[in-house]
Symmetry: C2
Subunit: 423 residues, 2 copies
């Protein structure tokens, strides 16, 4: 289908290619935050931002921001963006597609002489990926005012995060927290196979799933693998294997009900891990993603039951599961969801609502303003790998959806604001 969009596909393609070329040459695509290559990518973006008529700055938390003033000062800001940093040996699109799409929206607004009542800001958040300092979403946490101050002391070799912020042009002494943002939208590749398999253009994100990490320790008894009869053993690996299958079964059951759900045993280590010794201990780390709190509660209850069953069956000791971290799901705002759905209709983009299983800067922005996300398809659901791929046509269509949505939000927010003002 050939669409007549205001946005320009050749420009998004050129930006994606230009940023892809700024990588560690030996391991594409690597442009980690706080590295010279990252700063080189930033220089490219800042130059593009300026060419789009945006006034650029770096805020206290190291976010690169391009600003176009609205026609009515004091209305507040509509913000679009994502991040330009990558994981080691990452891809060309994760984060980058969102920054480039936001930039293309700003360019189109400038080119076409479109006016917005609100100020428009395009943002490249600092260090969304887990950075050399071991933490993620540094920029968006800062903008939401929720970065723990003690993080400034985190070290990566000789460098502290405080020094890292200065290095990228930020200022740790200045809060990046904002109160003027009226709405935030982020485009991102799906990082899953759902849109591609359903041949849909756009996923309108309903919520960013919560992430709960649960540690389970299974204890058996180390016995000589040669001399201990098969029937007299307390094999921790055998008990843990039963639990792995139970967790997968529970995950599938809850995934089949409404609301995104996934449960994964991502870390699994046995002791003593010696050829001739019956395993005495297994440590498992579960990653549980739930859009709905009740699914997570249900999982906790069913996991406890499964553990009791495995204990009964095997005689192994299994400690009560330990929740190491528990970040609740972040719903996207209905204002943003509705504007994005209307924009899909207007641009002819086929779409569905869906949850995000991965975390994003939008989860922090949702703490300070109505936030929304659009997903675009990516090949095979691959991400965080050089094979990661998104078609430029999908990025461009996504930019068109963002543009349409931002115009709607400008109008709708203005009406609400004026309504409030006159009441």
């Amino acid at each position: 289908m050939k669409r007549n969009l205001l946005v320009d596909a050749s420009r998004t393609a050129a930006d994606i290619d230009a940023l892809a070329a700024i990588t560690e040459p030996d391991r594409p695509y690597t442009r980690r935050a706080f590295t010279p290559l990252f700063l080189e990518g930033r220089r490219y973006l800042e130059d593009r931002f300026r060419s789009a008529g945006l006034e650029t700055r770096i805020d206290g938390s190291g976010n690169l921001i391009g600003r176009r003033a609205g026609t009515e000062p004091g209305r507040g800001t509509l913000m679009l963006g994502s991040h330009s940093d990558t994981v080691p040996e990452g891809g060309r699109f994760d984060g980058i597609a969102g920054v480039v799409a936001a930039l293309e929206v700003a360019r189109t607004i400038a080119d076409r002489g479109i006016t917005l009542s609100h100020d428009l800001e395009i943002v490249d958040f600092l260090a969304e990926e887990v950075s050399i300092f071991g933490v993620s979403c540094i920029g968006s946490r800062g903008m939401a005012g929720v970065m723990p101050p003690e993080w400034l002391g985190r070290q990566a070799g000789d460098l502290s995060l405080e020094e890292g912020l200065v290095m990228v042009g930020g200022d740790p002494s200045v809060s990046a927290a904002r109160t003027d943002i009226r709405a935030f939208l982020e485009l991102h590749i799906e990082q899953g196979p759902v849109l591609e398999e359903a041949r849909l253009d756009i996923g309108v994100v309903t919520a960013i799933a919560g992430i709960t990490r649960i540690e389970v320790i299974v204890s058996g008894r180390a016995d000589h693998a040669g001399t201990t009869p098969m029937t007299g053993r307390l094999d921790a690996l055998s008990a843990a294997a039963r639990l792995v299958l139970a967790i997968e079964r529970l995950g599938k059951e809850l995934a089949a009900t409404p609301g995104h759900f996934a449960a994964t045993v991502g870390e699994f280590e046995i002791e003593p891990n010696a050829a001739n010794v019956v395993p005495s201990r297994v440590r498992m780390l579960l990653d549980v993603r739930a859009e709905l709190r009740e699914d997570l509660d249900c999982f906790h209850a069913l996991l406890a039951k499964a553990i009791e069953e495995v204990k009964r069956e095997t005689g192994a000791a299994i400690a009560a599961p330990k929740v190491l971290s528990d970040n609740p799901a972040t719903p996207m705002h209905s204002l943003a969801i509705n504007a994005l759905e209307a924009a899909c209709h207007a641009t002819g983009a086929s779409h569905r609502r869906m949850a995000s299983g991965a975390g994003h800067d939008a989860a922090f922005m949702a703490r300070i303003c109505p936030a929304g996300m659009v997903f675009i398809p990516c090949a095979g659901g691959r991400s965080h790998a050089p094979k990661e791929w998104a078609d430029n046509a999908d990025i461009t269509l996504g930019a068109a959806v963002l543009l349409d949505a931002i115009l709607r939000l400008d109008d709708e927010l203005k009406e609400t604001e004026d309504g409030t003002h006159t009441d």
Copy 2:
């Protein structure tokens, strides 16, 4: 039950205690081969050997040997023994009980003025446990003439095995291989729970099980744990868990048929072993112990079937199992088994036939002469740990069985030899 045995329980207890005191003080019981403590233990033993009227020497492979000449020169040698080295943080009895029991037999023979037609030798084999050179059974391999010559070049830090042999009084330029040994008997703790649970005094070993090590690699696909739906995954850990349970099931089935059998997944590692990534690869190492070759063949066939089933169920790729090492079972000689059973009857020791799941020096001695083993009970089947325990009454009764068996073998072998000579 109070038995009237020729052997002396107070002497075996004193020897066990004396050797237990020769340990790294901070981590009892540690007396590894090629260490000063090992040589101190050897000096104690050599002294005891001499006090028992034995003529001592160290052979080319570093075995400590005590010899008592028989009444009929040229008849050859009856040998008894085991090893005095320990694993790090090992026990007081593994190997040691066998050396002490052999010594007590020699002492009793001397005290009581018992005469043997054959020469009698008591041996403390060098480095039965995996030593600092990364290999086991150095002394018994040498005596059987099967130690690979290139092993002399093995290094432990600055020390070569060649130098290590010299250090313990051996001589790498002199072959320790023997052709004069007419029978070999070894007493050892069971290292399993069978005798204790059945309240039996003695296990007469029918065979030392073969040890086969099999590597299995399961390959799935690394996906994002948050964004990849539960139904679209190729989770290598889930597939591997199915295989672990299948292997345990097969092991139990084959263990329930005649002949010792055990299958253990002792090593198990997943990749990438990251909290938020679906496991892409699992490496498992199986330890399979079989007394009967047909059980092992059967296991290979059933494992292949189980792998096909897991592949079909999960879609994971599983490479054909790779046999990393395959040491066949070593049957004990009927001459030795019969003599030991008759000795059990004569001494009133309750007993059963059983296979050894662990390897022993007797497996190498079986290559050059009729060999046999007796097991004595040990607490909870524990071994290679400070908790390892064998009652002194059981060690002493075992020594009495050895003594009775060696007298029978002396007679029986003489008859056979004379029969052969006169034919």
